[in-house]
Assembly symmetry: C3
């Protein structure tokens, strides 16, 4: 078919490539974990001795109890939140949720190693020790690549998604090290390191992989009624658990508490402005599911940095108010513009949900940090919140604000440059990506059931008739089934 008009049909066979990559990379993980990774003192059986030595009075002070509920919420966001948000396409729901599952499962292992080498390698023993906070960070690190996958959804092969994750996690660990350790920024919920980086990383890859004939897959590009409902599962889990996402690794006590409150408020505010703009933009004021599914979440993204600061509840509402508007405008005007004039195809609109709100979140964080005063935070509170300790003891909030802004720029740069490089790697003709007329179609990489709308109706109609009218003779039926 495709041969007659478009030249030889693309080879989308991944029967060698996908198993090979999965096996080789997983074996590499086993070996590297064997060499490097051990339990930390809170998850090791020596905890009982550690407790005694450090005068910890109760097991409940194990970091596990501070962070595990948030960890599980983050875990749900990564696998159900991101996964189901990407089921909105009528015939790419398996790919959305399934490849998300695959790359997150690989990415979190690689993230434990990469983040471990940069942040918690013990120089004496040569080991990385992990605990519940490492698991949360590994999930965070995957999120960057999953965001990038959102821009590429339906246009890449599963092998390519794994490559995106491999380099995405690697780049993430480096930029995170620069931003958090060298620049000493605070970014608990990852506006900069996760969303801004992940968004621009995905956009840059997508730009390099531009498909001029993507309209040939137009028949698959869109939702059906129930696929939009599946996507709402993803949206709601992201929305509900975002307070846990932003607060998962903030300071014990007031840090986690305040971050959760701020995020909760910013998200609520986003919903109302998203609905307002969505309704204004359509004939009859009808709402668009794409906006509801995505722009309502922008408040969480934009609060990723500032949520742990004393931005005040009304500050959180203002942030949500503005980014809800900006994000919805993005879906209405910017995504079509990018596709038409910048040759940038962004399936899930990560530009509007992650890249821009993430960047804004970075700058909001910078401003909030620069505006911090001892009067509001208290001397001790200021020191704790911004970690003005050790070599950073004398840093002022103003300086901190400058560094926060610089950090945002670093994350954009890493996303764009890294994405372009990875994009070129993905253009090698070895990855079994789909042809322009086969995008957004699960048929390419999945065994599909004979579906209700296609073949079964005839049979099911018959069965139904048989159920209803028992007088129809069985012989007819048997012929049908044979």
């Amino acid at each position: 078919m495709a041969a007659s008009f478009f030249g030889p049909q693309k080879n989308t066979n991944v029967r060698v490539g996908l198993p090979a990559v999965c096996f080789v990379w997983q074996i590499a993980m086993v070996v590297l974990f064997g060499v490097f990774i051990r339990y930390d003192e809170e998850s090791d059986t020596h905890w009982v001795e550690f407790r005694r030595e450090n005068n910890i009075t109760s097991d409940i002070e194990n970091d596990f109890y501070f962070r595990y509920p948030s960890f599980q919420d983050v875990h749900v966001m990564i696998f159900v939140g991101f996964g189901f948000l990407m089921t909105f396409l009528k015939r790419y729901s398996y790919g959305g949720v399934g490849f998300n599952f695959l790359i997150a499962a690989f990415g979190l292992q690689w993230a434990l190693l990469m983040q471990g080498w940069f942040h918690s390698l013990n120089p004496e023993t040569g080991k990385i020790t992990i605990g519940v906070e490492s698991l949360i960070n590994a999930d965070f690190c995957c999120a960057g690549s999953l965001i990038a996958f959102g821009a590429l959804l339906g246009k890449v092969s599963p092998v390519q998604t794994l490559v995106v994750a491999l380099f995405g996690v690697t780049l993430f660990a480096v930029e995170e090290y620069i931003i958090l350790d060298l620049l000493h920024c605070r970014d608990a919920g990852g506006s900069m390191v996760i969303h801004c980086f992940g968004g621009y990383y995905g956009l840059a890859i997508s730009w390099v992989l531009y498909r001029p004939n993507l309209h040939l897959s137009k028949r698959f590009h869109g939702a059906v009624y129930h696929s939009d409902l599946f996507a709402m599962i993803g949206t709601l889990y992201l929305w509900m658990y975002w307070p846990s996402f932003n607060s998962a690794i903030t300071d014990h006590g007031d840090g986690q508490h305040r971050t959760a409150i701020n995020t909760y408020l910013a998200l609520a505010s986003s919903v109302l402005t998203t609905v307002a703009i969505s309704s204004m933009s359509k004939k009859g004021g009808k709402l668009d599911m794409v906006h509801i599914q995505n722009a309502t979440l922008a408040g969480g993204v934009a609060m990723g940095t500032a949520a742990e600061f004393m931005i005040q509840p009304y500050g959180a509402l203002i942030v949500g108010f503005c980014v809800g508007i900006i994000s919805t405008f993005g879906y209405l005007f910017v995504t079509p513009f990018l596709e038409k004039y910048l040759k940038l195809q962004d399936t899930c609109g990560v530009h509007n949900l992650h890249a821009v709100p993430g960047m804004l979140g970075g700058f909001i964080g910078a401003i909030t940090a620069a505006a911090a005063t001892e009067a509001v935070y208290g001397a001790e509170g200021l020191r704790n919140t911004f970690d003005f300790e050790g070599e950073f003891e004398n840093r002022t909030p103003g300086t901190q604000g400058g560094f926060q802004a610089a950090g945002t720029c670093v994350s954009i740069a890493f996303g764009l440059v890294g994405g372009v490089c990875v994009g070129f790697i993905l253009r090698f003709p070895i990855w079994a990506d789909p042809g322009d007329d086969n995008c957004f179609d699960d048929e390419v990489y999945w065994e599909l059931p004979e579906d209700e709308e296609i073949v079964p109706p005839v049979l099911e109609y018959n069965n139904h008739m048989i159920h209803k009218h028992q007088e129809i003779s069985e012989s007819n039926f048997s012929v049908d089934q044979s």
Copy 2:
């Protein structure tokens, strides 16, 4: 069309009204939060000083760690539980989950203010301080309006739902203040203040908004196979997390622990009696999804007040046993009766799931309270459980029982009277509500995808054929797509 038989078709255009309400109300929230709302001492950076002053030994004693996991469960119940439970209609799933999302997002902000003014306004500073318990209470407060929305599902415009939430939250805060503060009732899980109030509030509104020609929308009134499965997601999340709902704001320690156990047991018991009655009522003993989706939850509603008392595990089972039966009977006989003879259209049957079980829960709470003895609770336990402190130091369990019963009556009265008033407000012809022949139809307020069953089959069938038989020439296909 409608013009020829029913007069001019109703104007359902919300393009001005919906954005206007969203913007104005959200701006009002920002201003009011700016004036009134601040962090409490456990979410403020001064926590470290507060800890020292109050001899709190560890960050883990921040209220956040007592309540945050339960808060997140409650949050899931509000957005996924209520939201997906209302997706059961074949063509109103977007409206069910989407408007639920909208009104909860607005309602929780307004609730923080209303509940703050009544319960935690500091007279010296003029500020309301909020923490995780405030967030839980705000979610609870929304629940009342979401329950009312259940009775109205499919028959109101999004602007009307916001009005329902605005007045619902306001009324809630007042009745809650009367019941909990003035009458000094205990109602941790809100049998009275949430379910009984919310149920009667919705029923009264629906009664005022009676639509004599609702049968014109009959074609949309019912489920399809997969919409019932989406609704089961809502059911199960409500069912599973109800122990968290009831225990979220009970006393630290044994209070939360006991409440969770009682609720868990009552819910389990409801399931069996619901199945029994549902099966008995139909030919061949077939089960009805409406009963399974709703009546199984009645045990949680009915335990909302008594769950924190020493009702004993078998007491919880008995409560669940009885309300499972009553609720299923309600769906079988009372809802049709109400519609036929009382002109009361109750889309989700909130009468059977919230109003009646909530009212019963209030009285069960009253009886359990009246039966409390020092022998069972211990002197200290009795005092803690019923807060017999301060001006209520000398109240006896018997008196407490009387006040609990009075509280239930207050909640019914508030629901009915408030609902009738709000109903009349909603009858003004300015709200762009759907016509009688357009109810239960997402087409009115949502941009819908061209759906699989309607237009696509022809195309998809073609695509399928092309996939299967590659010999079909591309030219044909191009014509199809053009």
Copy 3:
């Protein structure tokens, strides 16, 4: 119909049997709970005195705060995880999620009694006292029967599923007592007592209930596109919360912490090898949803015993690596083999997901235990981890390993022998099970909506046309609806 070819159609009327069983059993539960079950000291109002007597400094040390978040995750796994995983069949989704709900709701009550009698009956008072750990154990106990239900899915009546649960819970409590108390095995996540037992129990029942003419229901045996997506909800919740499942009842502190980490890693590793084998097995490297939905979970099953030991992170990865392969091979080759040569019909493939990985998990636990040394665990850590206290004070790790292996054999024996016995009970012709041509069909036990694919398309198409072309006269429409 069926009469003409297959003799008289089977009686599937459960209108007497199902309500009778539900009522009688639920009343029995009420009575038995009344006689036996009370709150334990951490959920009783006397907790405040208990705290003082035991010098517990804070309410946060109530076991509730150690275990409740994990309990809720386990609860989600039981009801949404297992429930939705079984919605994959195109026309048995109601039965999958609904009967799962029913038997778990009964099973957990019966489990509280059975486990209470064996583990926590106070000989002085004759009472069983329950707390949050009892609720977790009750959920675990149900899991065994739900696994068995997976093998029988679509082939049994709801009454039979309740019988499976009644005996399943009973057998579970006995084998658990033997394995955990008499043999003093450790099995926190239940590789042996839950998965291995439940898997073989279901397989044995299914073997006895072999249906030679099951091919007559072939038209219902398979998925449709959206039913597979519903099943993915189940898969992901099981996958995400499995760390909570395995760690829910392990030791406070490092025990829960380490178990969660190990399970998280094993599961991640399973995903990659499952994808690899699934892709290798199909033409074009296409992935099979059955494998992704099931075999990705094998890592959690196989880590059920060893996760709390010092298996090290790379050990967890190796376990996940191997069982992902084994489980996928099972779906590809063993299930068809069992059906063809052993006359064993296993609807969900519990052989590959529970029986074999559970058995392997038991032996992995035995080996890990036998390899434990004081050098790795520390003297105190070794004692705590394996509970080498009281009469087991002098047990060595080597001996412990032997007992762990013996425990695995006990669970297999209980599953197989118990399952055969229960299977024969279920063959009595009184249970209203479906005929061979009616399996996997919700029509038999559920009131079904007139579905989108069957009747509505004509109507909906009309409605759609009316919406689009308002010139079509209303009179036409009214005729359609009448």
